[in-house]
Symmetry: C2
Subunit: 374 residues, 2 copies
């Protein structure tokens, strides 16, 4: 079954069928350029995370603006990115299980595809897969710099794992993965900065330990859309991995900037386009988008087109909007944009991204890695 696109090139925005994921191309391009400009001239590389968009077309645009390649979280995503013309992909994640390791090693025959490790047994499995494929796989040791997710502790444990990697015939020790995921949505600017200061300290200590062993790091990777400016300033990180900056979402929009105001360096370019399907009460509008059209893990989407209205409740296929101003608008059939609470898992619900410029559909991009779980 092929899921039909909700629009075709040349359609007016008002004619895009709903629910649909729409991108304002002018804003999207400003976000891409803003990041590229902010990092221009700095001694570091941008490697945007494709888990946010899962779309080779967007990855190609990021590379065209100077990105070294992209990050992925899954081998299947990496396969789709390589297939889509991206020649440098870091799987910024541990990959476990022989089928996936074999696919990862195979992919290295076609492109540069690195991977992270945090377990000695996994390193042995990865070496075996790389040997089977007659490939050499670049490997980053992931350290836990406060994310409390994967990763070995910074310092000696990381050095020991790096030594193991460096001793393998079909692996190449390529550096450290030091992503502080929990810092991304700390609201206060200084609190975010302090979290990255701490992560940087732990990363630097690990780099010192590696240097004593003669182990050098081509890549010291980390940073997300909420903190990248801090990692960029450290002189320690040399690759930044932000994903959400291209779209933004309501959750990132609640972060604070240095001046104490809301973080608006990047603008909201991504919307869920919905239709009002019911007006059962003067203060209630039901739209045709629910839990299968947006993720609610980071809060409900916000209502973009109506003042003083909130989407308070979502069921599988319905969103319930409480209206506080006009009771006349919107009417059944009106179309309303929402800003997703969390862009990454929301994009993953769609097969197509509808690109809008000046009120007209300019392109429709397939979300090729949508559902690429393996």
């Amino acid at each position: 079954v092929t899921i039909r696109p909700p629009a075709a090139t040349g359609d007016r925005l008002a004619d895009v069928d709903t629910p649909a994921l729409i991108v304002d191309l002018d804003i999207f391009e400003r976000n891409l350029k803003c990041m590229a400009d902010n990092l221009a001239g700095k001694p570091l590389r941008l490697r945007p995370h494709s888990k946010s968009h899962k779309c080779p077309e967007i990855a190609r645009r990021q590379v065209a603006l100077g990105a070294v390649g992209v990050c992925c979280q899954k081998v299947s995503e990496a396969e789709i990115m390589v297939e889509g013309g991206i020649e440098n992909v870091l799987v910024s994640n541990e990959i476990v299980g022989l089928p996936k390791l074999d696919r990862l090693a195979d992919l290295n025959r076609r492109a540069w595809v690195g991977v992270c490790v945090d377990d000695a047994g996994n390193v042995d499995d990865l070496e075996a897969a790389a040997a089977r494929a007659d490939a050499v796989v670049p490997v980053l040791v992931e350290i836990d710099v406060g994310c409390l997710r994967c990763g070995v502790p910074p310092g000696e444990a990381a050095v020991e794992l790096a030594r193991q990697v460096a001793g393998k015939d079909h692996l190449r020790f390529a550096g450290l993965q030091a992503y502080q995921g929990r810092a991304q949505h700390i609201r206060g600017f200084q609190d975010r900065e302090e979290a990255i200061d701490q992560a940087t300290l732990l990363t630097r200590q690990t780099l010192d330990g590696l240097a004593k062993e003669g182990l050098t790091c081509d890549i010291v990777g980390g940073g997300g859309s909420g903190t990248y400016q801090f990692e960029a300033a450290t002189g320690v990180y040399n690759e930044l991995q932000p994903g959400s900056y291209i779209f933004m979402d309501a959750d990132y929009g609640r972060n604070l900037a240095k001046n104490g105001e809301l973080f608006r360096e990047f603008e909201f370019s991504l919307h869920i386009y919905t239709t009002v399907m019911s007006r059962p009460m003067p203060d209630r509008a039901i739209v045709d988008a629910g839990l299968k059209a947006f993720s609610v893990d980071s809060g409900m989407p916000t209502v973009f087109d109506i003042e003083d209205a909130s989407l308070d409740r979502a069921s599988d296929e319905h969103g319930s909007i409480t209206l506080r101003q006009s009771i006349e608008q919107p009417k059944v059939g009106d179309k309303i944009r929402l800003i997703p609470g969390h862009c990454d898992p929301t994009v993953n619900l769609y097969d197509w991204i509808v690109c809008i410029r000046n009120g007209v559909v300019e392109e429709v991009w397939p979300v090729s890695a949508r559902g690429a779980l393996l």
Copy 2:
């Protein structure tokens, strides 16, 4: 891009790649039979909701066990169900917008495909679409019996809308949609029963009003997996629309039965199969399933295979499990089953359902209506 299936017929469960959606076929078949048996001999029809499974193979099995057809929420789902051999489909939802109404009307040339309305303007649009298709579309008036979502108020407003429908050349007034969605997850048995008693009272009053106008209802539909036994006992509802009973989920599992114990009439047949990808701390295991592999709107998934463990935190591609018993198990590479918090939006994340019997993959079903949003 075709998303590869995580397993093939004949594979051992242990070799299913992860994350994957797996169904225990013995349990699944018991759930199907349990519902069929519970309703056997009663003067009502079962019309299971396909929004839970989005899978024509499952719909065909439900019909084979006596279901009259299925419910859908979207026209695109109805198209896929009709394509899959289901000849009787109720879109238990309002459909707004000309492209969708035209597709709905067209579909009525191939199968019985009903729809709900709660708005006079929408009835006019539906009539126009049915006229264009030279079809007669069966229409249910949705009344709000406590769901606080779509639907006209019970009583006179519903009678007036039914009268409008009945006056159209290409529409046929087919009954009432009276689903009490908010009652499904009320934990206490008596509280759930009282909510359905109230919904039934409002439905009966509306039926009385319709009868005075000579308007008869072929279908009086409602009921979900949490309340269907109450609607079945009313003598008012004649079609039941449960969906989740085939799978169950953690949220339904928190409902209480009449004896005050947990609702276990149906068993958990659906799991998310995951791999432990990291064991960074003695009390923490990270699995390779996160917000793109399960929905968290109704709470985190529960951990099926490890005692006294909980999945406490999920990011896009990671689930963090806190272990409280053994610190030895699980190891990196071990596979663990989770019970989803909410089955419907979780199933919608997968392209394939892997069917297991006696530890072996018996079939792999496509989730054909996955992502069918339009």
